[in-house]
Subunit: 277 residues, 2 copies
Amino acid sequence: MTPVQRAQLALLLEVAGTPKPGNVDRQREYAVLRFEHFLAGAVGSTPGLRLAANPAFGLGLAFETAVRGMSRQEGGNTQFGALLLLVPLVRATVTGPLHPTTVRDVVTETTVGDAVAFYRAFDHVDVAVGDPPAGLEDLDIRAGARARQAVLDHGLSWYGIMQASAEVDGVAREWTTGFERTFDAADRLYAREGSVLDREAGVFLELLAEEPDTFVEKQHDAATAAWATEQARRVRDGDRDVDGLAEEFVTKEINPGTTADLIAGGVYVALARGLVV
Amino acid sequence: MTPVQRAQLALLLEVAGTPKPGNVDRQREYAVLRFEHFLAGAVGSTPGLRLAANPAFGLGLAFETAVRGMSRQEGGNTQFGALLLLVPLVRATVTGPLHPTTVRDVVTETTVGDAVAFYRAFDHVDVAVGDPPAGLEDLDIRAGARARQAVLDHGLSWYGIMQASAEVDGVAREWTTGFERTFDAADRLYAREGSVLDREAGVFLELLAEEPDTFVEKQHDAATAAWATEQARRVRDGDRDVDGLAEEFVTKEINPGTTADLIAGGVYVALARGLVV
């Protein structure tokens, strides 16, 4: 299996893993964001993933291409965060070996041009983001390609942009920590027993129980994210039923998407290490 | 979306569509043949689908490559029949326009070399097949590559091989009829309302109600296939509950796989005609 196929399979296995409370999975979905949108998103991202697997192309262009292809379905943003992990992981696999230090090299070596492409990616799909950090108001990511000149003026690399968001965004934080939780998720997925989809459900719950999900923070607030993590902890510790939690999260539209992104990245690494489907 | 992506998405949407009584879908699976095996099969078939999209490669080689990639998961045969429809459909799309007459040209123009590659495909995965027709015992498909000389001696094209099975195999029959039921399924999928996955469930039931599934005939017998079709008719006519039927089929291991293959082909054609996910 090529790195591109592995990344595609990681996207598919992520959305199929159930129960992952609050996220679209095999059993649950939202009225406008449905299972089939994730299937189409995974297939659509392939051309971008292929660029990621070819070091002749800039990483930002690979990401933007993946997001553009992903967005060609009616559900909206399905896998933006997952691709933000997978694109550097695929690149690290081909410049490899796949390891925290090679992924760290891949992301720290990104350029201002990659940052511009990253901004362009936001033109293809609505992504939940917060306000820009103080002093960087003209770098509001929601401006997409219109922020091009500001990005060039600031001279920040894509890595620099992600550093500025690391405090509030769990995926950006992965970029600054050598993909620490991603590799940790991979170890746990690999170590567990049972089908890949069951392993995912277990690891998802552990990750959410350990750290509040920054996507929930953005969509709701810090208190909601803390509450969600507390509930995941109760399920993990056997004090609450997982299906009840899944129902409650869907009803309250609490969607721990960052934790799901970490699962997608973790599945990719676990597959690369020999996890068998 | 390229023809290759469309074929991949058709494989994924096929297995996701639920309920499709007796088949692995989003809600139901067998202990050894599970949902994730179909995801891996769809991803694995991509290199073969890419050869199908390139007329420089023989159609048989494209099919064999697709099956080899598909088989690299632990579930066994997931999408052999679906690929037997999708590979010619992809080729017809690029030699196009996609239409019954172009698909008919694609399959009738296959060679003895394609037939040899088709036989090789059986070495990659266990496929349920019946005994060879009288007088063609040395062409037993279960011999795989070992039948090479016999195939060459008989001088039968891949199309000729499929013609010999058309009476007992619903997929082979598509080859000899200009993919009649496939295009019909596409029309019905396109005409219905609702999500793609719901449309699939409805069309699956109609197709099964109209014609006994040849895969069920091979795995069980003609009486079982006739009974299964009678049950599908009762559900279609509102005299039976579809979920009850789905449970009963799984318990009895009645797996109308040929009807599912027609859905995969039909989804491909419907997507090509503009069906939106």
